[in-house]
Every structure is written in C-alpha cells, then in structure tokens.
Symmetry: C2
Subunit: 346 residues, 2 copies
Amino acid sequence: MVSESLGIIEPQFFKFEGDFELESGKILEGFNIIYETYGNLNEKKSNAILICHALSGNHHAAGYSNEEKNKAGWWNELIGPGKAFDTNKFFIVSLNNLGGCHGSTGPSSVNPKTSKIFGKSFPLVTVKDWVKSQNLLRKHLGIDSWHAVSGGSLGGMQALQWAIDFDKHIKKSIVIAAAPKLSAQNIAFNEVARQAIVTDPDFDQGSFHPKRGLGLARMLGHITYLSEEMMKEKFGRDLKKEKYEYGFDVEFEVESYLRYQADTFSDKFNAYTYLLMTKALDYFDPARGFENDLNKALDRTTTDFLILSFSSDWRFAPERSKEIVNALISSKKSVSYAEIKKHAGA
Amino acid sequence: MVSESLGIIEPQFFKFEGDFELESGKILEGFNIIYETYGNLNEKKSNAILICHALSGNHHAAGYSNEEKNKAGWWNELIGPGKAFDTNKFFIVSLNNLGGCHGSTGPSSVNPKTSKIFGKSFPLVTVKDWVKSQNLLRKHLGIDSWHAVSGGSLGGMQALQWAIDFDKHIKKSIVIAAAPKLSAQNIAFNEVARQAIVTDPDFDQGSFHPKRGLGLARMLGHITYLSEEMMKEKFGRDLKKEKYEYGFDVEFEVESYLRYQADTFSDKFNAYTYLLMTKALDYFDPARGFENDLNKALDRTTTDFLILSFSSDWRFAPERSKEIVNALISSKKSVSYAEIKKHAGA
C-alpha cells in the first residue's frame, strides 16, 4: 500500500511578544517560532501530537516544502496518512526550537534591541527552555493537552521534560533513543565538535560560516548517529577505486560519504546553532533539580510513557533508556518499553 | 614490593644504507631507526623481545630519558625487573617506527636526495613496511629469532604481521587489543582526525604545525582510547565550578581534560606522522593478500600466539580479537586468549 503524501506544507509562525526568562536567568524579549502542522485538529482539540527535533533538526518533519519539492521532511516515514503518526487521526505539530536556524528566533535572527544579528550574543537555551516555549505554542494553538509529545535523541529528552514540567498538559510521552543525561563520553564527543567549530579561524573572525569546523562536527556527529553495524553494511571496507592508492585522497567509501555529509551540511547550517544544541544536550539532567534523583523528578508526573531504544545504538544505548524505564517503574508510573532490534539510523 | 627502576635509558641508532622498497612501490634510500633496549641479551641470543608501538607511541617504552627525567616510558608499568616483560630474564627492544617523529626517519627528517625536510613528500608506510624494517633491525642486532613480538592496538597488528611475514624469526606473538583489520567505523574516526589536520589552514600553508587540527585529532583519539566506563569513573558529569555557567568556557571536567590533552600533544607531535599512522591503521588487512581469508594468511605460520583484549575496549572490542583467535583455531595454530575485565586505558 502506497501511503498518501502530505504534499507541500506551508510553515506557520507563532510570535510571542512578552519577556521570556531562560533557565540561565537571561531574558529573550519576545520570539518567533516557526512550525508546521499535519492532519486536522478535532473539535475537542484532543488529538494533537507535538514532535520535537534533535540536534540538527527543524520544523519540517513531514511532507514537502516549497524550497525542497523533492525532499521529504525528516520524519516523513513516520508521519502521514496511515503511518505511525497517522494524520487521518491526529493533528501533528512540529516546530523549530529556539536557537535554531530554520526560522525560529536564534543566532541568525535580528536582535530587536540592537537591530543587529544576534550571532554569538544569542543566549544559551536548555531543554527546559524549549519545553517552556513549546507550552506557549500549545496555548497559542488552543490545545489544553497534547495527546502525546514525541521525539528521538535530544527530541526524546524534550518529551521526557514535558512530562516533568507540564504533566497536566501531556497525556503520553514517547521517548525514543534518549538518555536521562549525557555520559562523560557523550559530553566529550560534543566538546570535540564544539572545539572544531570554535578553533576554526573563520569562527574567530565572526564570519559565522566556519565551514571547515562545522564540517568536522558533522562528520563526527554522523559516526555517533550511525550504528557500527549500519556502517559495516553500508560501507564495510569498500574502496572507491580497485586498490590502495597510498595517498590522502578518498580511498574508502566511508571517507567519501563523510566528506559529502560535511560539505553539504556545513553550507547551510548555522555554526552557533550547532554549538547551542550540543550545550543543551550536555546540560540536560532533569534529576538535577531533584537531589540528582530521577525517581523524584518523575514522581509527580501523571503522564503515560512509551520508551523506545535501538539495540545497535551506541551513543544512547538501550541501557540508557532502561535507566528512564527503571525510574518510572520505581515511581509506579505507567510505562511501556521496547528495544528495536536492527540498526538505529539517525 | 617496589620494582627496581631501569633508570635513564640512552637511545641507540640503526642506520640502514640500502634501498628500502615500500609496499606502495616507493623507495626509501636508506633510513635511521632509533631504539632502546632494556635488560641483557643472553649468549644464545634467544631472549630478545620486540615491543611495537601504537599510533602516537615511540621508542621510549620504559625507564627514564635524559629529556624527561621524571616521566617514565609509555609501558614502564609492564617492562622492568620483575615486571610482565621481565628485564632480569629478557632483552627488550623498543623502536620508533619509520614515519615517526621521535628520531627514526620520517616527515621531520632531511631527505638525503634534496637536503630538505621530507614533510609531505615522505611516503606512506604500512604495517608490513614496519615489520620489514624491524626485521632488518633484528639482523643488525644479531638475533636469529625474537622470543616474542608484542604490542597493543596498532602495535598488536605489527605483532600479528610478524607471524605472517617472518614466522621463522619469531617464536611468540602477543597481540593486545587489536583487530585483523579496521571496521568502517574505525576508518571513519581516523578520517575525521585526518580532516581536522588537513583542513587546518596552518597545514595548507605547509607549516607542519597545524596545532588546532592536531589537537582536535588528539581529543577524538582520546575518546576512542578511553573506555566509556573509565571516562565515567574518572570524570562522570563533574563540573569545574559548582553550577552551570551557560557559556562556552570549560564546564565539565571531561572538557578540561580533553583540552589539556589537545594542547600538550599538539605542541610536540608531527602532524604528518599522525596522518601516516592513521593511514597505516586503515590499510592494515593481512588477509588482503590471501583472497581476503585470514585463515589462509595465518596458515603457514609456526608462531605461538597470545591474544589479549579488554572487555571495556569499544574501538577494538573483544569480538575483534576473537576474529583473530577463531582464524588461528581454524588453522590449528597454538593460541591462548584472555579477555581482561575492567577498563582498557590507552
């Protein structure tokens, strides 16, 4: 059965004009959030699902856009008529987070105070800040409670934070391939990506297009997103040419792939957004406000949880998801868990 | 029991004056190899053990040097009187490989043909080339057969290649934390390190001191050498200060550690040597000359093997060592295998 396409999706804007206090104590004097919706909101406004994006994601999760008529949104396989997030039944909302570079207020936006591009002066934002801004979007849409909030990786962390901060406004939390906080190794990878960007001389000069550094960050990211098995299946030790060349041009297919990823990504993504997103990952630690006890953090939530992990995910391995599951079980919450065999993808 | 120290070790030099043909087909017109020895060669010259270094290693494996009187060699815990490689019984030889930057002929040496520093013109060398040069060192030392050849990671690959290429001159091969060839993921990490170096503008300008790029490569290397558990134990999510700073200065201890590693390493290591060493890792694939069949590659060897792996090693995990063990068993060779629990270290 070929699924019906959602066709071209027009993005919408939510303009918030009040002062928005961030977890850091800094104030954003209003902001814009770009978002898309798929499917229709029912009369009771009870069928809305919020999709949260990961590190390099954006609001364009499904269907096609006027800019990219041939390239579907990043979760198009999951969102649409008859799909997992069935647009025949649900009203799906997907946004670009604050600090992003796809239309929401971020480093590439004009600071209304100075009439200049924010750039490096854009404040750091956290998962908690995002969830708070998403809650304002919820109100704006006239939705009392999300049927569900879902996302993978950094998106899954938002789904988890929703259940902690606004459990009256979320019925189900679907947390995919996430962790309750980053490990030292996770932080270490983020730090290498950041150092690649901030040590690029083009970044020092404030050009905001440190193409080399951003490319390196993307290459490194790709290694952590792809499972070892998937890399093995996709590339193995396949050579571009027939034999070893004994030089520094591309020899193995995997090198070619990484260089291509670096090149295309670094042309279009904002380096400062990349820095912000990695910091949001590092800072995420919902137990921190609850004596470092995740059970306590989850204690008051009434949300139902679905926790999903991938057996081949080595960055946020199933063990990390199980930490969340175990805390939920200890707190006597409603939780379902599934470990998906086979490789993880992004 | 406190082990006796080997004291200050004076390095020695082996000068080879003939043409040395590399696997790439290129010719090195002679070379120097710097090496150290620990313990005494017996009359029968039957107690010599060769130690091979890994990516960023050198000849100074044990004792102290005149340059660094307070810092012991990189395997000092294992080499010395009464230690695993017991210098009361064995004559240990440790060298800096061709292409290195610690005294053996490499990119920072003068090319006798041009009287200029080799730099980028230094040819790529392989594990097979190293073993061939080490065999010339063996002859120079008047040793008919090594009692053993040993090393970890890239050093272990040399110990394996020795058994394939010169099995008449090696009795035991001790292969630690290695793999019979790199996976796509292993190559991918090396490629990011190389790209960090070659995209550093200082490298383009031929300064050979692309400090930023080399520092990034080192940071990334450290993440792959340290086990996730060790990073967790050593750093966890410990902060440098008491609370989140919401900025890009060092916040987590692990960031501080990585930046320090990058800084100290990139001051002293040669970037082109780093590139060469990563390529030698990528190229290593002893089965390649034997119809991609490791069993066939190992078929003719008469060497005894000890294969060691670390349970927490995620770069060259125990599964990779077992590939070697299984090929040896299939070929009915003498092999012992041990998986060492607890963390891997470098």
